[in-house]
């Protein structure tokens, strides 16, 4: 049974990674084909350096991901606190359902409805250009928000409300009480939300496709490339991204298990 289960896990992982392996192998192809491997070369990696379209798109992607993650974290954390404070159940569930719409809805519907909104606003105010940096940023914040709220909220529920009261009895302003008491106890939830927002934003294609105008992000550029014959340079870039993510996750994992060990040690010490 044990062998069977190991084998099954291995098979699924093989399925998950076969295309990734193909991508990595062909990124080192010496010919421009992604079908026939003709020899080893790193020229596609060197070529990336010259590819201004791809580099600009990477820059756009990072800017949007960082900004949208930060803004949605601030908006979303505040919202989570606010929603929990709403006493009327109808009102709070109404707000929550509204919040959840982008998460539940198909991306293509979200993307198109946002595009229609931006074009409508553009026409209304006679703007020069209705799609661009601002619109793609707004779109990303919109679809990030529910994920931030849903990661912060459970942590917030676990926080003892009496602590806030205690802090305020001791003379804290509500503002200060929030920063001194609530914020530290929900910080892991906030971090999860931010990371998730960042990831979603990095990877988003469909919604950006309808809202980005000429502020093209990396997935859009890759989409345009796959409309032609893909050359190994797209694979090379994806391989780099793959290894960066891989290294980061390993690093994160190590950090986490280290801090867990420390926590365990502390517990033992306390006993």
């Amino acid at each position: 049974m044990k062998i069977l289960s190991r084998l099954y896990i291995a098979l699924i992982l093989f399925f998950l990674y076969a295309p990734v392996a193909v991508m990595i192998i062909f990124s080192f192809n010496s010919s421009s084909s992604v079908w026939v491997f003709e020899g080893f070369s790193t020229k596609w990696y060197e070529g990336l350096v010259y590819d201004t379209t791809m580099l600009t798109a990477l820059e756009h992607t990072l800017i949007i991901a960082v900004l949208s993650a930060l803004i949605s974290t601030v908006l979303g954390t505040a919202a989570a606190v606010g929603i929990l404070a709403i006493r009327k159940k109808v009102a709070s569930s109404l707000v929550m359902s509204m919040t959840n719409i982008p998460m539940m809805n198909a991306d293509i519907v979200t993307g198109i409805s946002l595009m229609l909104l931006f074009i409508f606003i553009g026409n209304l105010f006679g703007l020069n250009e209705s799609l661009g940096f601002i619109t793609v940023l707004a779109a990303h914040i919109t679809f990030n928000l529910p994920y931030v709220i849903l990661s912060v909220m459970p942590k917030l529920r676990q926080t003892d409300a009496n602590l806030v009261d205690a802090a305020m009895d001791l003379g804290c302003t509500p503002f200060k009480a929030f920063f001194k008491v609530i914020l530290p106890s929900i910080s892991t939830g906030i971090a999860t939300g931010t990371i998730m927002a960042f990831t979603l934003s990095l990877d988003d294609f469909v919604i950006s496709y309808f809202t980005c105008g000429k502020y093209q992000t990396l997935p859009i550029v890759i989409y345009n490339m796959t409309k032609k014959s893909v050359t190994p340079d797209t694979y090379a870039l994806s391989t780099i991204i793959f290894f960066v993510v891989f290294a980061l996750l390993i690093f994160y994992n190590m950090l986490q298990s280290k801090s867990e060990k420390q926590a365990a040690v502390r517990k033992v010490g306390a006993k």
């Binding site: 289960s5 190991r6 099954y8 896990i9 699924i12 992982l13 399925f15 998950l16 076969a18 295309p19 990734v20 193909v22 991508m23 992604v34 079908w35 908006l75 505040a78 606190v81 606010g82 929990l84 404070a85 709403i86 006493r87 707000v95 509204m98 982008p102 539940m104 809805n105 198909a106 293509i108 979200t110 198109i112 409805s113 946002l114 229609l116 909104l117 779109a139 919109t142 928000l145 709220i149 849903l150 990661s151 459970p154 509500p174 990831t199 990095l202 990877d203 294609f205 990396l218 890759i222 989409y223 796959t226 797209t234 694979y235 793959f242 993510v245 891989f246 994992n253 986490q256 298990s257």
Partner: protein, 275 residues
């Protein structure tokens, strides 16, 4: 006291304003487009036209349903076996399952072409063995495979995270009460992992039914899923915004109905599992 909670409620205000502008208003604009003609007059013409695209809806639902079932069948044992290895390997496995999600799904989908093409890896290999090439690419099968592949982590992770939280003592209790392996699974594990299954199903079905890339690349553009129809019309110009909005509306309603049905199955009002 009242003052304090009033202040706290206000913290939700920016988010509420934001959501109204960027979530609710856009949907109403779409609704407006769906029920007007190019000149802005009220019409039901767009909605009537949807009948022309019923086949697109049909195959989208069919493909997405098949893909979801296959994904569930593949992911469930995977999640179960993952809970069986030791804790540090579990975390490692979870990461390994997640990493492909960080890669651009366009590229992941595209590299399947290299594998499945007539002159691709599988057929080259078969050719070396003297076997006639198989027709793999540009088929419905390839499209479904693409859906399964792209979205399987969204099925594995929620199921795994629910299963890993199942109280071990429950399992032991069922063993003590004489359950065999099958009964233990049917009476304890399966019901307790249901919330994970439900959220997995929604997270695979929704993107599958509305995709517009997988069918183009792996299906050779030979048919159109709903997503493809919507994309085609939006790319054909403002003449089609009305009919495309109507199709999008129907797609949205369809997804909502599926959600409601799915939620019926999850009896408790748990918040659902997000990764």
């Amino acid at each position: 006291m009242n003052k304090k909670s009033f202040g706290n409620q206000l913290l939700a205000a920016p988010h509420v304003v934001w959501s109204v502008i960027f979530i609710v208003v856009p949907l109403f604009i779409m609704l407006y487009f769906a029920f007007t003609n190019a000149d802005g007059g009220f019409t039901l013409e767009n909605v009537k036209q949807i009948g022309l695209y019923k086949k697109a809806f049909g195959i989208s639902i069919l493909y997405a349903a098949i893909a979801t079932v296959i994904t569930l069948l593949l992911a469930y044992p995977m999640a179960y076996f993952m809970t069986k290895v030791n804790i540090s390997s579990q975390r490692m496995l979870m990461m390994i399952v997640m990493i492909p999600m960080w890669m651009n799904f366009l590229i992941r989908t595209y590299s399947w072409i290299t594998i499945l093409a007539n002159t691709g890896l599988i057929n080259t290999f078969l050719g070396k063995l003297g076997i006639e090439p198989l027709k793999l690419i540009n088929t419905p099968g390839a499209v479904i495979l693409g859906m399964v592949y792209d979205f399987i982590p969204y099925m594995i992770l929620p199921i795994y995270s629910v299963m890993s939280k199942i109280d071990k003592s429950l399992l032991e209790a069922s063993e003590d009460l004489g359950s065999n392996a099958f009964n233990k699974f049917r009476r304890v594990i399966l019901p307790l992992s249901r919330p994970g299954i439900i959220s997995g199903i929604t997270m695979v079905f929704v993107p599958s039914v509305s995709t517009f890339y997988i069918s183009q690349k792996l299906g050779g553009n030979k048919t159109m899923l709903v997503g493809d129809v919507i994309e085609y019309f939006f790319n054909a110009g403002p003449d089609y915004y009305n009919v495309a909005s109507a199709i999008s509306m129907v797609l949205m309603v369809m997804i909502l109905v599926c959600m409601v049905i799915m939620n019926r199955f999850s009896d408790d009002d748990s918040e659902g599992v997000i990764i």
